[in-house]
Each structure stands twice: as C-alpha cells, then as structure tokens.
C-alpha cells in the first residue's frame, strides 16, 4: 500500500443536505477511533477527477461506503446516484488485483436493501444503522476495535453533538460556505473533531 496513511479513513457517502447529520456522525465516529476522515470533497481542479479519487482511496487504510442513498433523486432528469457503488467497486477491484490490507466496510440504513440494490455483494455483511445517525456511531463501534482504548457510545455521541450544535454554525460562518459538503468546512470539521476527541477520549495524545 504505497503512500497509504494508516490513520486515514475514506468516507464514500452522499453529499446531500438530508444527509448532513449522517456525514457528521461518520466524521465524529472515525475521529473517536483516532482516524482522520478523507473524502472526495477535498478534490479540486487539476488532474482528471477519477485519478484523484483513486489516489485518495489508495492513501487510506480504511474506507466506509454508505449505500443508503443509492436511489432516484428528485431533480430532473431523475437518476440514481452511482458514485457510491462505483467507488466501492474501485476499492474492491483494487483489493482483488493488488491486496494491500485496506479494510472496507459497507453501511446501509435498511437490512435487506443491499441484497436488492447490489446483489453481487451477497455474502458481505453490511453494517445496518437504521434511520438515525446515532446508528452510524453504533455500527462504527461494531466495525472497529482498539485494544489500547475503545471509545464509548457517550464519548462518540458527545463529539458528534458538538460538531453539529457548535461546530457547523461557526465553521459555515467563518468559511462563508453554504454547506458542510465543501472542501474548507470538511477540513475544518476534521480538525475540530480531532481536537474534541482528544478532550473526550482518554488516551489520545496531546500536542506538545
């Protein structure tokens, strides 16, 4: 895995206002485990987008693929969103061709949806989180384990709660962004989540 950062987790999720809390839950959840969230939101200009997506995925040890938004949108022309399953396919193809220890996780909101939407993955257990973002925190705890320190449900909730209640309004105002699904707010949220996690989760290193 050349260049892979062991402390980075690629978030393959929909960029949709209805999904904002879920997005924050993923950021909070991976930060509680000492991982930095990465997403295609960071990619701007330059080289062909597909190449940059692949480089970003390659740079991460873990990836979380939320397929709950693979459905028709309301905007005309109504189309399903293929980006999430496509990026999951990139990861699986990459790992089949050149196994590197990258760990990928499929997340879904409903139990049997994956069997219908992506039956090629039959035999893969998705992490089913239900209707609320709290379920994402729970399923991240089911997906990951640390021997040195396991974040609790309450610690993860506190990080998530602070990001949503205090962090997002401040960051949007400061960056002038209209949504958290932009490069600057995302980077700020990752840093803020890391700092808050340090306060809540015992055992995280403090900067000198």
């Amino acid at each position: 895995m050349p260049g892979a950062q062991r402390d980075s987790a690629f978030l393959n999720i929909p960029y949709d206002r209805a999904y904002e809390e879920h997005f924050l839950a993923y950021i909070a959840g991976v930060a509680a485990f000492g991982l930095d969230p990465r997403a295609t939101l960071e990619l701007t200009g330059g080289e062909r987008r597909l190449n940059r997506i692949f480089k970003l995925i390659e740079a991460c040890r873990y990836s979380f693929h939320d397929l709950s938004f693979v459905k028709l949108d309301r905007k005309r022309p109504t189309t399903p969103r293929f980006n999430m399953p496509f990026e999951l396919g990139l990861v699986i193809g990459w790992q089949k061709a050149a196994p590197s220890g990258h760990q990928w996780f499929v997340f879904e909101s409903s139990r049997h949806r994956l069997q219908k939407s992506l039956s090629d993955l039959n035999g893969t257990d998705p992490f089913v989180y239900g209707p609320n973002p709290e379920g994402i925190l729970r399923e991240i705890r089911n997906a990951l384990v640390r021997h040195d320190m396991q974040p609790t449900a309450e610690q993860m909730w506190d990080i998530f709660d602070i990001l949503g209640v205090d962090g997002v309004p401040y960051i949007l105002k400061k960056t002038g962004a209209s949504s958290v699904f932009e490069a600057r707010p995302f980077a700020d949220l990752a840093v803020l989540a890391r700092q808050i996690a340090q306060a809540f989760v015992p055992g995280l290193p403090e900067d000198p």
């Binding site: 950062q5 062991r6 402390d7 980075s8 485990f33 000492g34 991982l35 930095d36 960071e42 040890r61 873990y62 760990q103 996780f105 257990d125 992490f127 989180y129 239900g130 209707p131 609320n132 709290e134 379920g135 729970r138 089911n142 997906a143 990951l144 384990v145 640390r146 021997h147 040195d148 449900a153 309450e154 909730w157 709660d161 602070i162 205090d166 962090g167 401040y170 400061k174 995302f186 980077a187 700020d188 990752a190 840093v191 803020l192 890391r194 700092q195 808050i196 340090q198 306060a199 055992g203 995280l204 290193p205 403090e206 900067d207």
Partner: protein, 61 residues
C-alpha cells in the same frame, strides 16, 4: 455479523490532522480555541444542570 477490524494506528495529533487536511496554522489555532471554548461552556452547563436530570441522551433507533 462481521468481525471487527483491529485499529492499531497511532493517533495523529491535531497538528498532523491539520497538515494532512491542508488547514493553515492560524486556522488550526482558531479551531483549537473554539474546541476549548465549547468544552468550557459545556462543562459549565453540566455543572449548573439540575441533579437528577436524565443522563442518557442517546436516542433509540
């Protein structure tokens, strides 16, 4: 249920995270200050909360 994956990665410091995410030093200092202020405010609020208030704020799915 799939077995959980063991994470044995050393925790990045906030400055390492900021560097990776392309956040400037000035902005990182602001975000650290913001986090400290939020924590202090919350601690104060918790102290003033009535004893016996429901502790578990987790919603059930």
């Amino acid at each position: 249920m799939r077995k959980p994956v063991i994470v044995d990665t050393p925790y990045p410091t906030v400055w390492q995270t900021a560097k990776k995410m392309g956040v400037s030093k000035k902005r990182t200092r602001e975000l650290i200050k913001l986090a400290d202020e939020i924590m202090a405010r919350r601690q104060m609020r918790r102290k003033t909360e009535q004893v016996g208030a429901p502790k578990n704020r987790l919603k059930t799915a």
